[in-house]
């Protein structure tokens, strides 16, 4: 049945996340961007929401709630309306935790999942992106060579690894005999070197790092899913849906800021909102926000009900990347000179939209 009706719980989540985004995230957004730092207080409050832990099995200390990609898309949309970097900091550990919960062996689940369910924020991340031009998840350069029967040797480099400054473990995606696999790597693995925090165009409040893997030896038990391996494409699909939801929230932030500005700002004896050149741009923002959101819901629904989701996730991610960039670009234009000044948040959203659009594999739903 075609239905756009969120469940009661999803509506409650949306309202609560919106309030949190408005009261906690938005006010802290600019300062964190200027400082290129994730404030501990914000991170602690995000952790208190229990976004990751509530969706992990009770047996490992989690809340045991049914995982819902749709609910996660809705909450990411709201959090990102407040600030995209904070939304990503909240859900970056989910890319590790959900992957282990979905595809890990019993032992891997027992070892890693309880860590996400403690009092303090636990940082771990998916390491997918690589620091080479034309990065493509289908053409990874990081390689895992089997080492007899008892392990693998990982070589290569990973970049844009979220929370990498503090993450205690990484889920490294590598090419293994033509296929792709994921390997759980503790921070102190021999041969793994972790860079200083990267200096990026946008999402500056989200610390990211580069990992250099110089013949890092891992036991066979570190391979996600054990001897069966795992479905890496599913991790990519989930990350793309999450990215689409974040971009939708970012786009709404731009629209919500542009509307009152255009009504308030006057030129030639009229509010600029009364001029078609401005009004039509803003109408197009509204159109493309709906389009982004429904595409992300469609892909999230495919994941939620266990249907093939690679195509819908691709569409959701690619479409949102293009349209959020267009919306942020036009938000800057509506504000004119003020769009270029750091007193207003629109230039920040413009940088964040460009940054986020090219990233892969940082989140999960």
């Amino acid at each position: 049945m075609i239905s756009f009706e969120p469940s009661e719980e999803q509506q409650v989540v949306r309202e609560a996340m919106h309030e949190f985004a408005e009261q906690v995230l938005r006010p802290a957004s600019r300062e964190a961007d200027e400082a290129s730092a994730l404030p501990d207080a914000v991170l602690a409050q995000l952790h208190e929401l229990g976004l990751v832990a509530t969706q992990l099995p009770e047996a490992f200390g989690g809340g045991g709630e049914q995982r819902s990609p749709l609910t996660n898309a809705i909450l990411l949309d709201e959090l990102a309306w407040g600030d995209a970097a904070f939304a990503m900091a909240a859900l970056a550990p989910a890319a590790f935790a959900f992957a282990v919960a979905d595809q890990g062996t019993q032992d891997q689940q027992a070892e890693w999942l309880p860590r996400f369910c403690g009092e303090k924020p636990y940082a771990a991340a998916l390491a997918l992106v690589e620091p080479s031009p034309l990065f493509d998840v289908n053409r990874l350069r990081t390689v895992a060579e089997p080492k007899g029967d008892d392990g693998f040797v990982l070589s290569g480099a990973k970049s844009c690894v979220p929370l990498g400054d503090r993450a205690e473990a990484f889920l490294v995606i590598a090419r293994n005999n033509g296929a792709r696999d994921a390997f759980i790597l503790p921070r102190d693995a021999a041969g793994l070197s972790i860079s200083e925090t990267e200096k990026n165009l946008g999402l500056k409040a989200l610390p990211t790092v580069t990992l250099e893997l110089e013949r890092v030896e891992v036991p066979a038990a570190a391979r996600l899913g054990g001897s069966d391996g795992c479905d890496v494409q599913q991790l990519v699909d989930r990350a793309r849906v999450a990215k689409a939801a974040v971009l939708t929230g970012l786009s709404r932030a731009v629209l919500d800021y542009s509307v009152p500005y255009a009504k308030d700002r006057r030129a030639f004896d009229q509010a600029i909102a009364q001029k078609q050149a401005i009004a039509f741009r803003i109408a197009d923002m509204r159109i493309e926000i709906d389009a982004q959101r429904w595409l992300s819901w469609k892909a999230a629904a495919d994941l939620e009900y266990g249907r093939p989701a690679t195509k819908s996730a691709h569409h959701a991610g690619a479409y949102a990347a293009e349209k959020a960039m267009w919306i942020a670009d036009n938000g800057v234009q509506v504000l004119g000179g003020h769009g270029f000044i750091r007193e207003h948040p629109v230039e920040l959203w413009y940088r964040n939209a460009r940054t986020l659009g090219v990233l892969e594999g940082m989140l999960s739903v």
């Binding site: 075609i2 749709l70 998840v137 289908n138 509307v259 909102a273 109408a283 982004q292 429904w294």
Partner: protein, 393 residues
């Protein structure tokens, strides 16, 4: 519960529509090239296809709403052809939608079996219907309205058995003075003056009408309210309400053809061995594959905005903004999709041996009729800003 998957019953209905459409498509080229002919009301193959209306009306647990399903069926029919139908049902033209939206119960009952065109546009007014010049003057002696004026771009104007037209009781009253009247074919003073020659949708007749002292019964004023409401009292909004359902409908019509263009292009790309994998990055793909996937996403996005507008209507919620939104989105989407498909396939695509060039011509009207893309954006912007027509036009 949010979901986008159809029930098995609904899928069966759409499968049957698809089978019918494959038959209709065989006639598509003929009626495009022979613009003066009308496709038959019933095709010779009709006996092979059961009526679907009863099956559609029977909604069960898990089925989609009737509005949603109706638009998906509309898409499926237009995937076959814009005009050719296995059986052309009576009473499904735009004037019928207006009758349903604003006629009195007696009027709806009296005229429901007629196919009714809708006549708004005039030689001097299109997007701004407040400029309607056609007049209706009440002759109290004979209890008749006397209509004078010209209407153009009347969809199905030749085929229709009657027309719902917009005329003004008082030009100085602006939009408030505009009323809808029903005129049956054969009424003295009502002449079909011309059949237009068009870029696309050629099998769909488009007519021009002249009304010269055309007299109709007093009861033919739709809704029956003869007084002119005060300006700004919302009297005109009632007239415009019709569009909340017809805009998603014409969007679905356009998108059905856009889907046909995509399916045709996908088939040829696959035949040529172009890999349409969705897993990787744009940079790792051929330009053709990347462009095609982009068009496909635009199609999916437009479709979801249409279904959203229909779903709101099914749920009894207002969908004024969403019906404009889906119309604006789809009007632009089908232009980009069909233009892009031709670009991807190259010279093969412009041959009239194939239907792609026809879909390219046919969809172009989507962003024009039933409110241009610009009008839709105006409506959306007014809603966002809380503006009236006086603030933004």
């Amino acid at each position: 519960m949010i979901d986008f998957e159809l029930s098995q019953r609904d899928r069966n209905i759409l499968d049957q529509v698809r089978q019918q459409s494959l038959v209709c498509r065989q006639y598509a080229r003929h009626y495009d090239e022979n613009e003066h002919e009308f496709p038959p009301d019933v095709l010779p193959e009709a006996a092979d296809f059961p009526e679907l209306a009863g099956e559609m009306l029977r909604r069960e647990e898990g089925d989609s709403g009737l509005g949603v399903l109706g638009l998906l069926v509309t898409m499926g029919e237009h995937w076959g052809d814009y005009s050719v139908r296995i059986r052309r049902p009576k009473g499904t033209a735009l004037g019928n939608a207006a009758l349903r939206a604003s006629g009195t119960p007696e009027q709806r009952e009296k005229w429901r079996s007629l196919t009714l065109a809708m006549a708004i546009t005039e030689p001097g007014c299109g997007s701004d219907p407040s400029q309607v010049q056609t007049t209706a003057v009440l002759d109290e002696g004979s209890d008749e309205w006397v209509i004078n004026g010209e209407k153009i771009f009347v969809t199905a104007g030749c085929r229709a058995e009657g027309v719902v037209l917009w005329a003004t009781l008082d030009r100085s009253a602006g939009r408030a003075g505009i009323k809808s009247f029903l005129v049956e074919k054969g009424t003295p003073g009502f002449v079909v003056s011309q059949k237009e020659k068009k870029l696309g949708i050629r099998a769909d007749d488009t007519a021009a009408y002249v009304f010269n002292d055309c007299r109709i019964p007093r009861g033919n004023l739709l809704g029956g309210k003869e007084e002119i409401p005060k300006a700004g009292s919302g009297g005109f909004k009632g007239v415009m309400k019709t569009f909340n359902m017809t805009r998603p409908l014409v969007a679905a019509i356009g998108l059905g053809m856009g889907e046909a263009a995509l399916d045709f292009t996908r088939e040829h790309l696959e035949d040529c061995g172009v890999d349409l994998g969705y897993g990787g990055a744009a940079s790792g793909q051929s330009a053709a594959a990347e462009k095609f996937q982009r068009l496909e996403a635009i199609y999916e996005a437009a479709k979801l905005t249409i279904l959203r507008a229909a779903w709101l209507a099914d749920a009894g919620q207002p969908n004024n903004l969403e019906s404009s939104l889906c119309k604006a989105k789809t009007g632009a989407a089908v232009r980009e999709i069909t233009q892009g498909c031709i670009e991807i396939l190259g010279p093969l695509a412009i041959s009239r041996d194939h239907l792609l060039e026809k879909w390219f011509r046919d969809v172009r009207i989507t962003d024009i009729y039933e409110g241009t893309g610009e009008i839709q954006r105006m409506i959306i912007a007014r809603t966002l800003f809380g503006y009236t027509r006086a603030d933004l036009s």
